[in-house]
């Protein structure tokens, strides 16, 4: 485990955090706490967290140590296996929690009591503990125990409806965005709870709902529904519109070698006319109802876009302070053609004993006087010495039904839930 030596210790230096995660929500929340220099111990079942199997693997050869989500999200953490379905395992966890300030978990609420992590009970035993739970619907309300996945949480939170083409079914944003957003909310609330402890060292339950994280993305949509009884619909490549008077373009358009994201300078929309050398784009009627003229604006932009490359278009537009950008593929992001990320030292080339060397995103934030803890993802139970765990690791891999609340088959339920088996 490494941390930048150039800066003083981070804000959570010396604070131990126990993470019990199955999804990207708890793991990303934990990563943000680890980055602040907290000591994050991931407590995993004997067979490893389901997260270890999520995502691609080097050479497309699945291995419990090399899943992409695990490799990225668990960087800078420790791993400890504990069978929480055994009494000894739960006792061991409680011993660990006695020397812990924060527990962060994304296990479902119905598993809390059986696994010994019910927030009320933990707080009764240790009032200084912060217990951050991330669940699909939070800990109160009629849907608390409903089954869900990333897709259905996206739908229930209201954001799925505004992504996709208007004539087609809504389409989910790529990846595990709902879980990751919930993870950011969880980290934010957890550091707020650390500050709220005060002199009395009062802990508390921080209750995060994934669907709330989705609803938080709605940006203006709720107000529109409330005041005007209508809501913007999905708009394909265009930004959802609140009416014809909305500024435009904000859209993805094809160009000679791919796609660009075309966006008007909202303060100086008439600069589009100069950029595209077409006075129609400065017409007052058009500027007054830009989204209402979206098709016409697309047509006016097309000739130039179709004959020029992305880089050229973006360079010209940016010179006029018009915020056009390239639509990049993941490989192009990594290739970093103009050397921007390299100049900022953003990507981190990290060795891993089994996954090998790979390039990872660096920290999301930079603090001038606090170091960010990086490091590779831990091997399963690499830090088992943290507990006298030998007595705990006897027995078989977990086959609990706790994560689903019903009997399971041959394959551990939490693995199936993650799409592993």
């Amino acid at each position: 485990m490494t941390a930048s030596e150039q800066s003083p210790p981070g804000p959570l230096a010396g604070i131990r955090i126990v993470e019990i995660s199955e999804t990207a929500s708890g793991a990303y929340g934990g990563r943000l706490l680890a980055g602040l220099d907290g000591e994050v111990v991931v407590v995993e079942p004997l067979g490893g967290s389901a997260l270890r199997r999520v995502g691609s693997h080097p050479g497309a050869r699945p291995h419990r140590e090399t899943g992409a989500s695990h490799l990225h999200l668990q960087r800078g953490k420790r791993s400890l296996t504990v069978n929480l379905e055994s009494r000894a395992g739960r006792r061991a966890l409680h011993e660990l929690l006695e020397a812990t300030e924060i527990l962060i978990t994304d296990l479902p609420a119905r598993s809390w009591a059986p696994l010994g992590i019910d927030p009320a009970r933990l707080l009764a035993q240790n009032p200084a503990l912060i217990v951050t739970t991330i669940t699909p619907f939070g800990s109160q309300g009629p849907r608390v125990d409903q089954a869900s996945t990333e897709l259905t949480e996206y739908a229930a939170g209201g954001y799925l409806r505004i992504t996709g083409k208007p004539e087609r079914e809504p389409v989910k944003a790529w990846g595990e965005q709902a879980q990751l957003q919930a993870g950011v909310h969880a980290a934010l609330a957890t550091v707020a709870a650390v500050r709220a402890k005060g002199d009395a060292h009062r802990g508390q339950h921080v209750d995060v709902a994934v669907t709330d994280a989705v609803s938080f993305l709605l940006g203006g949509t709720l107000q529109s529904a409330y005041f005007f009884g209508r809501e913007p619909s999905r708009n394909g490549t265009r930004l959802v519109g609140f009416g014809p008077g909305h500024t435009y373009p904000s859209t993805i358009r094809p160009c000679r070698d791919g796609y660009v994201h075309a966006h008007v300078n909202s303060r100086f929309p008439e600069t589009m006319a100069a950029f595209f050398d077409d006075p129609r784009l400065a017409d007052p009627d058009l500027l007054a109802t830009m989204l209402g003229h979206a098709d016409e604006i697309d047509a006016l932009m097309s000739p130039k876009l179709e004959r020029e490359d992305r880089a050229e278009i973006v360079r010209e537009a940016q010179a006029l302070r018009i915020p056009f950008t390239e639509v990049l593929r993941p490989s192009e992001v990594l290739a970093d053609g103009d050397g921007h990320h390299a100049a900022r030292g953003f990507f981190v080339d990290q060795d891993h004993p089994i996954a090998g060397r790979a390039r990872y995103p660096g920290p999301p934030i930079r603090m001038g006087e606090s170091r960010w803890r990086e490091g590779r993802a831990p091997l399963l139970n690499e830090d088992g010495a943290l507990l006298h765990h030998r007595r705990l690791s006897r027995g078989h891999p977990s086959r609990s039904s706790l994560s689903r609340g019903r009997p399971s088959g041959d394959v551990p339920v939490r693995w199936r839930r993650a799409g592993v088996a």
């Binding site: 080097p58 409903q146 996945t149 229930a156 389409v171 944003a173 790529w174 957003q181 993305l217 921007h340």
Partner: protein, 443 residues
């Protein structure tokens, strides 16, 4: 809701809970934040800090709001006709803050801001990097006035590097992070991931970092800079794709609503206009439960799904997911989405109707969870504002109030916080450096 007339905002807010005043101090009680933010990402960062109890003073140019915004709700009874105070998105983004008009391009305005810096804990800005320099308000200047200040910046691409001076809103970052490339229907064009996706992400990360910096300061540290390059915040969210691009030879691409292992998994048509059902079968148990629900409406289809060899195992269902999606869609399109989702949920199958904002305002879980609450705006009346996804059970932190009327805190800041006398304030007012009302933009 059954009405003989179109529902009014009051009807729509019937179930929303007013933001309560908590009995315990909020986590950021005693912290003062100067908000120099624009657009969406920055205002979200400061709004989050305000909800957590910080006093957020939004510094706006004296001409800082449009006098005739295109679409605003009606003024509340007896309220003056000031449409710039009724802009819906503004009022959503800026709840739990104060408003201070201040012209930072004027030497007196700049000096007043530095006075405010001296009595504040945090300053947040999200201009492009050259702007704070144009104001002569860079870190060295701010730190000289207040060494304990946390100075948070949210540039699109960072304060260094070849793209330093590039301008972009959130959707442009979605494009450059790869997220737009990855989002969309298989085989079709890249799409935007919804609304202002990158902005909320940046605002959340910034608020998290600011609180962390405050913790550091209180543990014996000093003030410091916090930088959130929007692109670097968003690249966290596509790390799997970036690793995939290194691990396998094929470029990660759009897969629509498909899952890499599960089927059926998608968004299916339901009865009605633009009505949809999101459904996911994770395993054989879900599959069996789904067939039992289908059997009630379409026994022949259920029998086919049971006996057809293409759907016998999870792997086979996934391989034949297009045919399976078509069959599920045939069944779902005759059903109302919400009751169908309830039936599936009762059977243990992950499902949800694809709700919109109007649905949420009537949704029992949304209302009980208080995903949004209402605040009382002096010129609009009841106004819904979304809460972040967390509830701090020991120190509840709902929004502290509605968005500020323009210039609601001019006197508070200059008299109470900075101790300016009448002559000083009159000088600022006369120079148009501050105001008690919205001014015309200088030519």
């Amino acid at each position: 809701m059954s009405l003989d007339r179109p529902p009014s905002p009051q009807d729509r807010s019937a179930g929303l809970t007013p933001a309560a005043v908590p009995e315990t101090p909020r986590p950021l009680a005693g912290i003062r934040v100067i908000d120099l933010t624009v657009a969406v990402a920055g205002p979200i960062a400061t709004q989050l800090l305000g909800g957590l109890g910080a006093e957020v003073i939004r510094v706006e140019p004296p001409w800082g709001r449009p006098k005739s915004p295109p679409l605003v709700p009606a003024a509340a009874a007896g309220a003056p006709d000031q449409p710039w105070n009724r802009i819906p998105l503004f009022n959503e983004l800026h709840h739990s803050k104060r408003s201070l008009p201040l012209n930072l391009l004027h030497p007196l305005g700049r000096e007043a801001l530095l006075d405010l810096v001296a009595v504040s804990d945090v300053l947040v800005e999200n201009f492009s990097p050259r702007v704070m320099g144009n104001f002569e308000l860079e870190w060295d200047t701010l730190r000289a006035r207040n060494p304990q200040l946390i100075f948070a910046s949210m540039p699109a691409f960072g304060k260094s590097g070849p793209y330093r001076d590039r301008v972009s809103y959130g959707p442009g970052i979605d494009a450059m992070s790869g997220l737009a490339w990855l989002t969309g229907y298989a085989g079709e064009t890249p799409l935007k991931p919804g609304n202002f996706y990158c902005d909320q992400n940046a605002g959340l990360h910034t608020a998290y970092a600011v609180i962390a910096a405050l913790l550091q300061r209180e543990r014996g540290g000093t003030g410091q800079t916090v930088e959130l390059a929007m692109i670097e915040g968003e690249l966290q969210l596509v790390a799997d794709a970036l690793l995939t691009a290194q691990f396998v030879e094929t470029e990660p691409d759009r897969i629509g609503n498909d899952h890499r292992c599960w089927a059926p998994h998608g968004v299916y048509p339901a009865a009605g206009d633009d009505a949809w059902l999101a459904l996911a079968c994770r395993d054989d148990e879900d599959w069996t439960a789904l067939r039992r629900v289908i059997e009630v409406d379409a026994p022949d289809l259920a029998a086919t799904l049971h006996t057809d060899a293409r759907f016998r195992t999870g792997l086979r269902r996934w391989r034949h997911r297009k045919e399976l999606d078509a069959l599920v869609g045939e069944w779902s399109r005759a059903q109302a989405a919400a009751p169908l989702a309830e039936r599936l949920q009762a059977a243990g199958v992950p499902a949800s109707n694809v709700v919109g904002a109007r649905d949420l305002l009537d949704d029992a879980h949304f209302l009980e969870r208080q995903t949004a609450v209402v605040v009382e705006h002096p010129q609009v009346g009841r106004t819904p504002v979304p809460q972040p996804a967390f509830r701090l059970r020991g120190t509840p932190s709902p929004p502290t109030g509605a968005a500020p009327l323009f210039a609601d805190s001019t006197d508070y800041v200059f008299r109470d916080l900075l101790g300016y006398d009448d002559a000083q304030i009159d000088e600022l007012l006369a120079a148009g450096v501050t105001s008690h009302e919205l001014l015309e933009r200088p030519q």
